[in-house]
Amino acid sequence: MKFNLKVWRQKNAKAQGKLVDYTIDNINADMSFLEMVDVLNDNLTRKGEDPIAFDHDCREGICGMCSMYISGRAHGPHHAATTCQLYMRSFKDGDTIYVEPFRAGAFPIIKDLVTDRSAFDRIIAKGGFVSVNTGQAQDANNLPVDKADAEKAMDAAACIGCGACVAACPNSAAMLFVSAKISQLALLPQGGPERNNRAINMVNQMDEEGFGNCTNIGACEAECPKEIKLTNIARMNREYLVASLINE
């Protein structure tokens, strides 16, 4: 298969970037998208050009590293899949494919398609965990959890923190991510004692990082590779409102 690629090239965070045209031929339909970029980079290296920098790691859809905005969508045209789960058979021979980084002020570009998503780490550091100082995990039967809540918490915990929600949101809002992280703990007894501070601190950090605000459009839910639901955002708003009212 043959493709025309328009890839975002940017030397560093400060440089002006632009779309650069590449043509690539002899691509096997069963190659993954990332393998196709590997081949392209191999060609570029042989020609003595700078290869395209891009993030990737597990290549099985669980790590959330492969952040690319492909053909106008976060992680490409497939529903509920990451970039590494995208195969070239999903495109037609001769297609023009746009490849851009996830765009948000809070995700500055490091180089080409690689963005710095450490804003998410700083949000997690503000309370996306349960403080346990010492000792072993106690017997699970000591903490009864309703099955339905366990399911909802598990669904929220499926978030891999890839940032597709931010990339897809017209406002670059990170609320689907933050709400998934707040929800997974708010639904379980272990998350109970710190829930108020967690909601306030994580939301404040999210705002400080310069993410936009949720206007309930739903693009994040539509593009999330792990199908995190909008109801999590409502839960986060509820947690935040209650916490703001009662926290000292």
Partner: protein, 206 residues
Amino acid sequence: MGLTGLFLIFFLVVHASINGCIWFNDGGKTFLYYAHFMGTNFLVHIAEFGLFAGLILHIVDGLLLWKQNRDARPVKYSYSVVPEKSKWYSRSMGILGTLILFFLIVHLRNFWGPNRLNQITTGEELNLFDRMQEDFNNLWMVLLYVGGCFSLFWHLLHGFKSAFQSLGLNNVKYNQAIEIAGTAFAIIVPLVFALMPISFYFHLVH
């Protein structure tokens, strides 16, 4: 946005109910009775200040939101596909709100403004029923009002449900009820409003 939005939604209910009295077809008698109450009651005057404050807050809040959200993505995508689930009217609340604001300026200039001015200068209220009959003889005015109602319809179609989501009141148990109530409200209220100038234009109200 949600709180001020719900407050303005509450106002729409009051406004639509009172203006709906024109359809009693009693020459505006019932309508003018309530219009007189709304125009002269002290508590209503205080509520009116609250309404303007709510409207201004809603606008300022909206502008801040628009600015922050625009600044959150300094470099735009060269090529972007909008997911089906994301509705155009949800993405265009600012534009729809601006259209409603333009409509409101004309609307207040037609009725509320002259009436209050007359009350201040002469102490007398204007006959708003007569004014409606006069204004809505003009086809352009009727079309402007119907256009305003369309903007309101789309604004509410997103806004009503969205307010519940923002306030964290959205959950699986009530989602469907909110969805139905929101859609019904967004259709019924603007439709009732739009039918008023249309009724006058076709002389169905007298």
